[in-house]
Amino acid sequence: MSGNHPGLSNNFSRSGEKFSWSKDNLRSIKNIISKYPKGREQSAVMPLLYLAQEQNNNWISIECIETIAETLNMPKIRVTEVASFYSMYNTRPVGENLVQICRTSPCWLRGSNKITKTICKETKCEINDTSDDNKFTVVEVECLGACSNGPMIQINNDFFEDLDEESTKKIIDNIKEGKPNVIGSQKGRRSSENA
């Protein structure tokens, strides 16, 4: 099961395209590396992996790893080790929208199973799978830290909280139609104030 999770796979693959840093990223990299003491530049591997993932359609290809290794002058296997250790670096291609469903106890008690079912049905893909139109990749994850607003999901960088089947379907539909979504609580709560 976990082997198929895009973030928990030890098998890396090539994208087939050359990966080189964008101009913006080159600037940020300079800034990031300057935060570490001289000789410890390799510590910047995690922020660089994050930048690479952002630039490379939300996943880390072998080309990304090689570019990072070259940038930080470190062995490729060391970059690979870090990238494979953390579940939030995707080691295989994912759809445009990475839907992460929290399934840890608080969300589960508040009905995350139903949310999962709804999402799978609406996006037409299984857990750890990518939809045929490459719009969605659905994964189950452990606690994302918004327990008081469970059940919740994360789509790319945004949290959607206080979900039920209806609001979940609405969110997915909006994404499909390219309409904007309300971020955060779907019940109009501000942060985690009393409902």
Partner: protein, 677 residues
Amino acid sequence: MSDDLINIKVNQKEIQVDKNLTVMQACEIAGEEIPRFCYHDKLSIAGNCRMCLVEIEKAPKLVSSCTMPLMEGMSIITNSEKVNAGRKGVMEFLLINHPLDCPICDQGGECDLQDQAMYYGFDKSRYKENKRAVDNKNMGPLVNTIMTRCIHCTRCVRFATEVAGVPELGMLGRGENAEITTYLEQSITSELSGNVIDLCPVGALTSKPYQFKARPWELKRTDSIDIFDSVGSNIRVDSRAEEILRVTPRTNEYINEEWISDKVRFNYDGYYQQRIDTPYIKENQKLSISNWEESLKVLKDKLKTLKPLALIGEHVDLETGYAIKKFMSNYGKDNVECRTDNHAILESLDSYRFNTPLNDIENSDLIILVGTNPKIETPIINHKIFKAYNNDAKVFNIGENISLNYKTEYLGKSLSNLNNENLIKALKKSTNPLIIIGSAFLNKIKKIKTLKSIFSYADKYKVITKEKNNLNFLNPYASRVGQLIIGNTTNNLCEPFSNLKKDNFELVLSFGSEHIANEQFNNCFKVYFGHHGDDGAMGSDIVLPTPLYTEKNGTFVNIEGRPQEAKKCHNPIGSAKEEWSILKKLSDELSFDFIPNTFDQLRSELFDKHPILSDYHEIIVVENSTSITPDIEFEDCKAEYPVSNFYMSDVISKNSVTMAKCVEEIISTPSLLEKSA
């Protein structure tokens, strides 16, 4: 230095130890054995197997002794119930995912996990969940992987990074998904890669050629010496009946520590390929099978009339060399040559050996490689240079711009680059500089003045001082230093081989030297004494079979001048006879003076003549030579490296199937990276 000592108690026994040690090291000094998997004294401390738990008084929980520093007054308990229970718990976790396949595992019988499970293991499993299985990884033609057996001690990862200097191994994933692999499952490109097999405490990494061949208790152990480079690594040859089944290192802290090169570890299948098993005589341009009687009769007749020259190959031991010298002395002087590659020397021992004790290389802060590629010529010396490099030594390179596993500053192609400004600046700053002159230049030097200039240069920049001599000469051949000590060379200090005029000699006796096939001997009658049929044997008029180094006793002097013994492991193949006994027989028939009747007599005569050689394992001590010229002048010569392919540098390796696979998979196959580029 009482400051550095602290008082501790181990199992109530009071001892004084260095305060910089760890708890585990202190326990070892106290004589308590601590079980461990991940800790290895040549590698950095990882502390991830948790097997070395001990109790420390006043500490609430058990601590892992390998990672715990000592403190004054510490009281360590290694044998309490609590410790035992802790270790049993750790062992139970380690065994959860370890398969019960000891009966088909190559490590069985010499497995750390198996041994320690005898002490700390439970007799049954309480584990009811699914067991994990891990795909096997490709690590090249030498290392076999059965990764489900891996217990993630990371010794191999640390070895590759810290000792071999090729950061290609790593642990991917985490927790239950953790897997050891090489980067993209490429072959390990190190010349020392086989050592991960010895390091692996379980059967995850085992030897591919040795797979399913034998059990450790069936093997006969013979102590020997690696003769495939000049370092003289100590090896242990394991054989069953008349066949060598594997070669592993013996620990020698002064030379190879615990490592050996892949060549000696894996080329043993070549010992039995293409062997010359019986005498051959050339008839009608074709070698045909003969016998000892006939071939020696022909040789004897030739020896009566023709003037002979003896060539000494790279695998010839001292006793054989001495017998050859003794035999040839009946024909006058200057008729034995071991420097068949034109190796230039001065008279003194310090002009052809590695003068720095190998263990001191790591203390140098500036290393100059001059015409040498230690990575493929002498991997063990390369490892020591890598150690120095990790201690912040700067490495300069002169000759070809070779690729090594550490950064070097390339100065140029010719010897005169020794006068490079940057280098001189660095030399003046350095406190312990070291120069290694390799065969690539030594074999090309034509003027004695150049050699003397090198000495003057070393003297000028404090490479040679009263206390130390860090000017080193490196050649890759196991026989060379010893043969030069007993004087098996002509008086010609430079270009000895090209100057051997064929007019002066009519009969060439080659003892394993392939140079007999050179054009310069085309008109001579050629006799090849050797064990492998290659160019040398093919072109000869008589071929006589002789034993391999594992089939006879012999002394070799390593590159730093340390005599060591290689012992006989099994009887020679076919009708091979030891060289000295052939020469003895010929001497008797030619009524020469050749006293020794047995090998032991020969050896004691050798030691009587050269007492410095009799002290096994000790470096021969000599005064620093004073071959110094006032002006330093280097001639211009092109570097030509003696070894271009690590896996096929001699007749034995050339005949090894394993070595051929290495060439195919490691050298010839471009890595995935290059393919994509």
